[in-house]
C-alpha cells in the first residue's frame, strides 16, 4: 500500500452528540471511512436483556443523516458497530429502518449491510457440547444457563466488516462488535499494518477521549505500512503522546495487551511521538494471530421482577439512630413478608440502600458522616410480578410510618411520590463471560446486504 488509510471517528457513540464544526473540518481531509460504535455493556444488562436501545431514535436519526450525507459526498463507507446499545438484532433493524428513511428522504441509492450477531441458544449449546466454549471470568456454563438467557450476542472481529465491504456495502450496520474492529476493518482490508490498525482502533473507539480537548474535537487516524498517525481535528483541538497513550488505560484491564477475535494486540513497545500539537505518530504495535479464532459471548438473563420504594427519613432523632432503625425495619419486614406471603428467605430479594450514608459503596464504605436526612431505597425483587407487588404493598406503610424501637408515636417519613413505588419490570443480569471457538470468523454472523434505491 502507498497511501495511508484515514479513519474518521466523529463520536464515541452515535446518539450522544458530536462537534459538527470539527466533523465538517475533518471531511476536508478526505477520510477513507467514517466509523464509530453505537453501544457497549457499560449501561448494564438491561439493554442486552431486553434488546432495547438506550439512545433516542430521533437523535440517532439526526446524527445518522449528517453521517449519511457526508458519506455520500465523499463516496466512502460508513460503518457503525454495536448498533442498538447492546448489538441486538432489533438494534440493527432500528438503525436500518432509520437509514432507509433517510436514504429515501435524501434520494440516495445506497448499499446497506446489516450484520446480525445474536446467537440462538442451540448454536451455543452445540458449541458447548463440542468443547468450543471457554471461560473467561465466569466458569459456570451449562445448557440450562444458555437457555435462561433472553439474548446472547457474539462480538465480531474485522472479518464480517471486510466481508460486507468486499460485497460493496456503502453502509454497514453491525450488531455487537469489538470497539476496535469497527475502526480497524477498512485499513486491514486495504493491507495496512495489522498492529497499527488494531491499535488505532483502540485509540479511536471513544472518539475524542484520546485528545486533551474532548469537548471540541473529532479524531482521525491514518494507518500505513509501519504505524499510524492520529490527529485531533477542530478549533483549538489538541492531543499529546500522553493523552493518546493514556487511552490504552481506558476501560481496559491490561494497559499493554488487548485480546481480539483472531489475535492479540501488544502495545508495550509502541513509541508515541508528537509531530505537532494536533498530531501524534505511533509505531511499534504488534499483532500476533492466535491459534484458535474465538469470539467473545455476552449473555443477559432475567433475574426477577423488581420494584423500588423510596422514603426519606428527616426526623433528627431517626437520622441520629438510623442504623438501629434500619436494622429493626429490615428484620420486621422480612418476618412480615415471609409470614404473609408464606415464602422463605430464598424466595425473594429485599435490600435497603441508605442514600446519604453508604448507598454507593455498602459494606466497603470507609467514611461516616452526619447527614441531614437519609433516603431509604427499598428494592424488592422476586420471581413473579404478583409477589413483588405483594412485597411492595407490605413495605409501603412501614416505609411511611416505621417507628424507632420503643417510640410510642408513629412518625411519618417523606414519600416523594404517589404512588411511592416504582416498578422496574423484569430486571436482567450478565451471566456469560466466555469465548466461543469458531472455524470460520463469519460463521456466527448473519448478513443482509441490499441496495436501497433512493426516491
Amino acid at each position: 500500500m502507498n497511501t495511508p488509510i484515514k479513519v474518521l471517528t466523529p463520536t464515541g457513540a452515535i446518539g450522544t452528540g458530536f462537534p459538527r464544526a470539527a466533523f465538517d473540518q475533518a471531511l476536508l481531509e478526505r477520510p477513507d471511512v467514517i466509523a464509530m460504535d453505537a453501544g457497549s455493556t457499560d449501561s448494564g444488562p438491561h439493554y442486552l436483556g431486553t434488546g432495547t436501545t438506550k439512545a433516542s431514535a430521533s437523535i440517532l436519526r439526526a446524527e445518522l443523516r449528517v453521517f449519511m450525507q457526508a458519506r455520500a459526498e465523499l463516496d466512502i463507507p460508513l460503518i457503525i458497530g454495536s448498533c442498538g446499545t447492546c448489538g441486538s438484532d432489533a438494534g440493527v433493524d432500528l438503525m436500518r429502518g432509520l437509514c432507509e428513511e433517510i436514504a429515501a428522504e435524501l434520494g440516495q441509492a445506497v448499499r446497506i449491510a446489516s450484520v446480525y450477531s445474536e446467537q440462538p441458544a442451540s448454536v451455543v449449546k452445540q458449541a458447548l457440547a463440542q468443547g468450543r466454549i471457554k471461560p473467561l471470568q465466569l466458569d459456570h456454563i451449562d445448557d440450562a444457563l444458555v437457555e435462561r438467557c433472553s439474548r446472547i450476542v457474539a462480538l465480531m472481529g474485522v472479518e464480517p466488516f471486510i466481508h460486507a465491504l468486499e460485497d460493496g456495502a456503502d453502509i454497514i450496520l453491525a450488531g455487537r462488535s469489538t470497539d476496535t474492529a469497527v475502526m480497524a476493518s477498512l485499513p486491514i482490508l486495504r493491507g495496512a499494518h495489522q498492529g497499527a490498525a488494531w491499535h488505532a482502533g483502540k485509540i479511536l473507539e471513544c472518539g475524542a477521549s484520546c485528545t486533551t480537548t474532548p469537548a471540541n474535537a473529532v479524531v482521525m487516524a491514518a494507518i500505513d505500512d509501519t504505524g499510524f498517525t492520529i490527529k485531533a481535528i477542530g478549533e483549538g483541538a489538541r492531543l499529546t503522546p500522553r493523552s493518546v497513550m493514556a487511552h490504552m488505560l481506558y476501560e481496559n484491564s491490561n494497559p499493554h495487551v488487548l485480546v481480539e477475535p483472531g489475535g492479540v494486540l501488544n502495545v508495550e513497545e509502541a513509541v508515541y511521538t508528537a509531530l505537532d500539537e494536533q498530531t501524534v505518530r505511533v509505531e511499534g504495535s504488534v499483532w500476533t494471530p492466535s491459534e484458535d479464532y474465538t469470539v467473545k459471548l455476552e449473555g443477559a438473563a432475567p433475574c426477577g421482577f423488581q420494584s423500588v420504594v423510596m422514603s426519606i427519613v428527616r426526623d433528627p432523632e431517626y437520622v441520629e439512630r438510623f442504623d438501629e432503625w434500619l436494622a429493626y425495619l429490615d428484620s420486621v419486614m422480612r418476618q412480615r413478608i415471609e409470614k404473609h406471603l408464606g415464602i422463605g428467605a430464598d424466595d425473594y430479594d429485599l435490600q435497603f440502600r441508605a442514600i446519604g450514608k453508604d448507598s454507593a459503596l455498602g459494606a466497603l464504605e470507609s467514611r461516616v458522616g452526619a447527614p441531614v436526612e437519609i433516603g431509604v431505597m427499598a428494592i424488592a425483587t422476586s420471581a413473579t410480578a404478583e409477589r413483588t407487588q405483594d412485597m411492595v404493598a407490605l413495605l409501603n406503610p412501614y416505609l411511611l410510618h416505621f417507628p424507632l424501637p420503643g417510640d410510642k408515636d408513629l412518625p411519618t417519613h417523606a414519600f416523594p411520590f404517589s404512588p411511592a413505588s416504582m416498578d422496574r419490570g423484569v430486571v436482567h443480569e450478565f451471566v456469560l463471560s466466555h469465548v466461543m471457538v469458531v472455524a470460520d470468523p463469519l460463521a456466527p454472523f448473519r448478513f443482509s446486504i441490499k441496495t436501497v434505491e433512493g426516491a
Binding site: P255, L361, S366, G369, F430
Partner: protein, 108 residues
C-alpha cells in the same frame, strides 16, 4: 475528585467490562510516581484486603511513561447484579483514596 494539585495524584475507577474493575492512579510527576509505585497500600495484598478479593486476582501495572499506576481486579460485584450499587464502578476509587489518606479525618 480532582486531587492532583492537593495530593499529587488522582484516582479514577471504571468498569473494564461487566466483570472487571480497573483503577488508575494518575501521578502529577515522576517523583510522586516513584513514591506511589513503592507504596504498600497499592500492592496486591493491600488491594485484596481493601476490596475483599483474592490477592492472586489482582494485577498492578506501574506505567512509568505515563506516571500512572493501574490496578485491575475482578469487580467486587458483577455489573448490574442485584447487589450492584454502582453501574459504572466509579465510586470504588474513593475507597482507595481514603485508604491512602486524603489528609482529612473521615470521621465526624
Amino acid at each position: 475528585m480532582n486531587t492532583l494539585q492537593t495530593l499529587g495524584y488522582e484516582i479514577r475507577s471504571k468498569n473494564a467490562g461487566p466483570f472487571s474493575l480497573t483503577i488508575d492512579v494518575f501521578c502529577k510527576d515522576a517523583d510522586t510516581f516513584a513514591q506511589l509505585a513503592a507504596e504498600p497500600k497499592l500492592q496486591a495484598p493491600a488491594i485484596a484486603e481493601l476490596f475483599r478479593r483474592p490477592a492472586q486476582s489482582i494485577s498492578v501495572f506501574p506505567i512509568e511513561a505515563l506516571s500512572v499506576i493501574k490496578i485491575s481486579l475482578p469487580r467486587p460485584v458483577v455489573q448490574g447484579a442485584l447487589q450492584d450499587r454502582d453501574m459504572h464502578g466509579a465510586q470504588w476509587a474513593f475507597i482507595l483514596l481514603d485508604a491512602l489518606g486524603t489528609g482529612e479525618d473521615p470521621r465526624p
